[in-house]
Amino acid sequence: METILNVKGLAKSFGPKKAVDKISLSVARGEVMGLLGPNGAGKTTAIRMIMGILTPDAGEISFNFNGRAQPLDKSKIGYLPEERGLYEDVRVCDNLVYLAGLKGKPATEARQEALQWLERLDLGAYADQKLEKLSKGMQQKVQFVASILHRPPLVLFDEPFSGLDPVNQDFFKEIIRELQAGGTTVLLSAHQMNLVEELCDSIFLINHGREVLSGKLQEIKESYKENIVELRFDPAEDSTFLKMIPGLRILQEQPGWAIMRYSGSAGINPLLRELGSKLTVSAITVEKPPLHEIFIETIRKRGEDIEVA
């Protein structure tokens, strides 16, 4: 698949601290990639370097917007920084038109589209109000619009969900899905992995500035051996045999219900067969553990610690 962003051996130190330590990643056109890791892992530094706000100590960053590799063109990228704000003493619409103008969008076009966005967000009545009149939640929506109003082929969202109320979280997810459907490539960072897991096609897990895991989300999950199995069966039946199954660990148990972890080298099928033969199963779900757990487990296996800044 064609990549729109290629990063090779990117590194950046602040004094003795290696904020980003030789990471390489590529983002395919039209996908949503999650750059995930705890606070202080180096996500923001990496994104700022991609956006050309910080200069890397080492490494290469190249873009491919129209079939050939090219250096950074800021007008083709939308950016929502983690620390964000707009001109509070300026009217909402003027804020949007100015920022889109800096990205090269003509003022009349920007104004028209900004008004459409504001209408859609139920902020139409505030278009000519100063930004400071808006509530925090409303301002967050305006900031989001500011990052995509110029219709960039690539957007970088740094912690887009931090500080959002649940209503706005859902709203932003909806927009990100919409962008993806429209062919926009999205690179987003988050420390709350459960929030973005459902959005991402691929992920890049980072800790202490170094890569932990990366690839298609589906593949990572499938290659992870453990499964979480939730089982419902006839409460009258004896389930003590469960404890004997190799690779199976019971997390919680009640008569007729159990939640377990299973990791078998031959996959889940042998377990299903055994359960089916010994119990009258009324319901069963098999799930891969959440990304957050995979992340922590992978780091633990490597003997590293997780920094929480």
Binding site: I77, Y79, R84
Partner: protein, 401 residues
């Protein structure tokens, strides 16, 4: 660097701040405050010199009083002659503020010239007019005592005025000496006001976090240049308004032709003015980028802002001896160049090469400070949570961020 981006930032900053209340208030208030200050000092100087004073004289020589009385004939200081026996009564009158004070003239102090003036409170006396009159009267009295004739005395006491002229014969007018000071004052005030507005503007963008969004579209240098130019035009507009208002008021009292600034002088002055403005603006913007909040600006940062003012503290000496060695040295230190040269150009006629050389130095300074400013600017802007120390600024200079 993209000039289109610089232009967009410039236009935004100019229009946004033109409409801001701060600009309106400083633009309108400044002339009002200056007018008020000028009015107060003019009124007080007039009223003090016209205030009537009653002074009693005890003249033991019996001869001196008429000399003094004739000297004070047209003065607001009124003298009356009294007997030595009345001294206690006079002292009482001084205490009760019926008299401003009294003098005792004896044969002895006429000789020594040490005359006591008794007043209620030695600190509040305003005795300049009296002092002059007593000195003049005493000089005349002594001369007549030595036997000089009236003509001889007039000859000796005829006033001497040292009248400076350049070798080519040009006169030096008082107005022409004030103008350079006025121009450099205007530069410093304009730089201080628009520089501080710029600095707090940068700080505000840093505080409300918009700066990172801006940097995702334009480079730090584009942003810095756009801001400097935007605030520069704003500053020039403000000065223009002040000048027109100031000249309008001044033309009622003065003959403006006496200001003695020719277009040939005005052109280099404008160059130094603009160059100086850009240099200081870059410095101020960079300072704003290193600060966390308005209160957090450290002492050292405050000191940096005073640097442009240093030549102003020495303005008297620079205007009086514009070609002294130390003044020349000052002219070649970029951060002092604009203020010093503005004063020198107006105070004296400089050879063209000196103007050209100092201007070249200034341009180097402008380039250096924009470069330095852009570096501090781009690094400081993203340090949201703290004020950056000078040590760190030094580190920033050496390392690529």
């Amino acid at each position: 660097m993209k000039w289109l981006n610089v232009f967009k930032v410039f236009r935004w900053e100019f229009l946004k701040n033109l409409k801001s209340p701060v600009f309106l208030v400083t633009t309108l208030m400044m002339p009002l405050i200056m007018l008020l200050a000028a009015g107060i000092s003019y009124y007080s100087s007039v009223s003090v010199s016209k205030e009537e004073q009653q002074v009693a004289i005890i003249d033991e020589t019996g001869e001196f009083f008429p000399y003094l009385e004739s000297k004070l004939a047209t003065s607001p200081v009124k003298v009356t002659l009294h007997e030595p026996a009345q001294r206690e009564q006079l002292a009482k009158q001084v205490e009760e503020r019926e008299l401003n004070g009294y003098l005792i003239i004896t044969a002895e102090n006429v000789q020594s010239g040490m005359i006591d003036y008794f007043v209620r409170d030695a600190k509040e006396m305003n005795s300049m007019a009296l002092d002059e009159a007593v000195t003049a009267a005493l000089t005349r009295y002594r001369m007549e005592k030595t036997g000089l004739t009236a003509q001889e005395i007039d000859l000796v006491t005829a006033p001497v005025v040292l009248h400076p002229r350049s070798v080519s014969g040009e006169e030096v007018s008082v107005a022409a000496a004030i103008a350079p000071f006025f121009f450099s004052m205007v530069l410093v005030i304009a730089v201080m006001i628009s520089g501080q507005v710029l600095m707090y503007g940068v700080l505000k963008e840093k505080r409300n976090r918009i700066v990172e969004i801006l940097l995702s579209s334009v480079s730090a240098l584009d942003l810095l240049l756009g801001k400097i130019l935007g605030f520069g035009l704003l500053g020039l507009l403000q000065i223009g308004i002040w000048m027109i208002a100031g000249l309008g008021v001044a033309s009622r009292f003065l003959d403006l032709r006496q200001l003695g600034i020719s277009p040939a002088e005005l052109f280099p002055m404008v160059l130094f003015f603009v160059g100086g403005y850009v240099m200081f603006a870059a410095l101020f913007a960079a300072m704003g980028a290193t600060m966390k909040d308005a209160e957090g600006g450290s002492q050292t940062q405050g000191m940096v802002l005073l640097i442009p003012m240093i030549p102003m503290f020495a303005s008297g000496s620079i205007l009086l001896s514009p070609n002294a060695t130390w003044v020349r040295v000052f002219s070649y230190i970029p951060i002092f160049t604009p203020t010093t040269m503005l004063m020198r150009i107006a105070a004296t006629t400089l050879p063209w090469w000196e103007i050209a050389a100092t201007f070249a130095v200034l341009m180097l300074g402008v380039a250096f400070f924009i470069y330095l400013g852009a570096r501090i600017f781009s690094r400081g802007l993203l340090q949201f949570e703290r004020t950056i120390s000078f040590k760190e600024i030094g580190k920033m200079m050496r390392k690529n961020y």
